[in-house]
Symmetry: C2
């Protein structure tokens, strides 16, 4: 890396810092205030070369993935995104051309999602390229959709379709570089409009990152309920057990009271996202996958484990 | 690492998440609102094994350093700390005993600084141990002390003494394990009370992390002024040019109008921190170190460069 940290920040990153509170990336801090009556929603996720993306993925798609896995967390809480902090740990072989393409990816997604870079930290590492994003959104005070609100009697829904990102990963591992699913793996589509629309409708929500069953399991744990999923109703073009455990989908899984079924389906049309009703919340604990005959076919491994 | 990510979070980290907005670390997000009339101050800094600390440093001191380098940024802005997000990238050889000692360090500093863990991200890495903290504080709206406020005619001050942390690093590199300076390198002392007291008094401030001259250079750049430092007045028990370039001091360097000299010295007594007047702000650009005869003795390398 021939240029100094300060040069790189001034030329490549400062143009991305468009809010007054970002202080042009020329201070150690950023200032941020939620809209009156709102509270900030914070989330942070790191993606690591060789774990969450391939080192030779196009740099702009790596940038987008780093942002979008975080924006997806905001979406699932019904939050409107505001901005992000970016921490890069760069191995020596990352050069300026790579960084320029990377910042073009950030730039493009800032426009798509209406967000701004607020600050960050740049350092070198002997390890793999690591990109850590902390994203900020806001919601009306008390209106965030949490994992903890699911109630027995709720219906369970999921947006979009599952397993495409996993199929993209499998294609990349098998060096089938023409698979249409690779784009889904590299650049997820966080469901921002759906999340905003679900505020006040959904009882509980989560974005599907670890795997549908694992993520619904998180809702079940925190809400102290049991969640039953009908395999036949899972929206996927892949083998169902694979699709509900592979993760990286960044769809929103949520529960809502039966009385709001029609409202859920109407808002799905409004935000142009398919939504499938896939199960129900009952008393009890854990998550269960049932076949068309009601038989428990829950796999032992419900999703991704980070280690 | 024998236990799952979720187990580790539940047993070691959830007890550190004491605010309601942390949601017990059982959601993907945290909620945070500044006090009415205040805005949030955000800062993020990562520390990396082999760069910012030694892999065999005591885990509790590594935890404290990760927090304190961030709290120091808040201090320099006059912000009151609230909480933090923690992202850990753990190599395989980090075991549970290490993590337990690490979280004890976090726990101790949460008490010292009145902060809480808000959330984070845990992953494994084939690279070095990396600890990324995003810290949150708040200030009255518009009252943050920025780098950009220095004015010709201001005096330049610095708290405490410089070069001790660098001497600690040198001692560790030379395997002189009994040096009294090692503790200063491992566990910096962010000047929270001083920072709060400087709000409304200082025109510009920065914490000394890269090296006094480099950091005053940042103020000079952003404020479009020149800063002159008198070598003879730099508070240090080490060789002056080393002390003003070595960095990692986490003292606060600031400028204030001449009319507030007495107020600055009074508040220093009140918060029990020594403050030295070391120079002046003039028209022009850059930073200059002068010897007792007024001769320019500015070293070419003014501080730490991250790469």
């Amino acid at each position: 890396m021939p240029r100094s940290e300060f040069d790189l920040i001034a030329t490549l990153f400062a143009p991305l810092a468009r809010s007054k509170g970002a202080l042009g990336l020329r201070d150690d801090v950023a200032l941020l205030a939620p809209r009156p009556g709102h509270e900030l929603v914070l989330t942070t996720d790191a993606i690591i070369a060789g774990v969450d993306f391939f080192p030779n993925d196009p740099p702009d798609t790596i940038a987008k993935k780093a942002l979008r896995v975080n924006l997806s967390d905001l979406a699932a809480k019904g939050a409107e995104p505001l901005g992000y902090l970016l921490t890069l740990a760069l191995p020596k072989r990352v050069n300026e051309a790579w960084l320029r393409a990377f910042t073009r990816g950030l730039e493009a997604d800032q426009k798509v999602f209406g967000i701004t870079l607020l600050g960050g930290d740049l350092s070198s590492t002997r390890g793999p390229l690591t990109i850590s994003v902390t994203a900020f959104g806001h919601v009306e005070r008390g209106k965030a959709i949490l994992r903890s609100g699911a109630k027995p009697g709720d219906l369970v829904f999921v947006s979009g379709s599952l397993g495409d990102s996993g199929a993209g990963l499998a294609a990349l591992l098998a060096k089938k570089r023409t698979s249409k699913f690779i784009a889904r793996y590299r650049v997820p589509e966080p469901r921002m409009a759906l999340g905003l629309a679900l505020s006040g409708v959904a009882h509980a929500a989560i974005d599907v990152s670890d795997g549908l069953l694992a993520d619904l399991g998180h809702i079940a744990d925190v809400s102290n309920v049991r969640i039953e999923v009908d395999a036949a109703r899972v929206p996927t073009s892949h083998e169902v057990v694979a699709a509900v455990t592979v993760g990286d989908d960044y769809e929103i899984a949520f529960t809502a009271p039966k009385s709001k079924r029609a409202q859920v389906l109407a808002l799905a049309r409004k935000v142009r996202v398919t939504i499938s009703e896939i199960g129900r919340v009952t008393k009890g604990s854990g998550v269960v996958l049932r076949d068309a005959h009601g038989k428990d076919i829950t796999p032992r491994r419900k999703g991704w484990q980070h280690f």
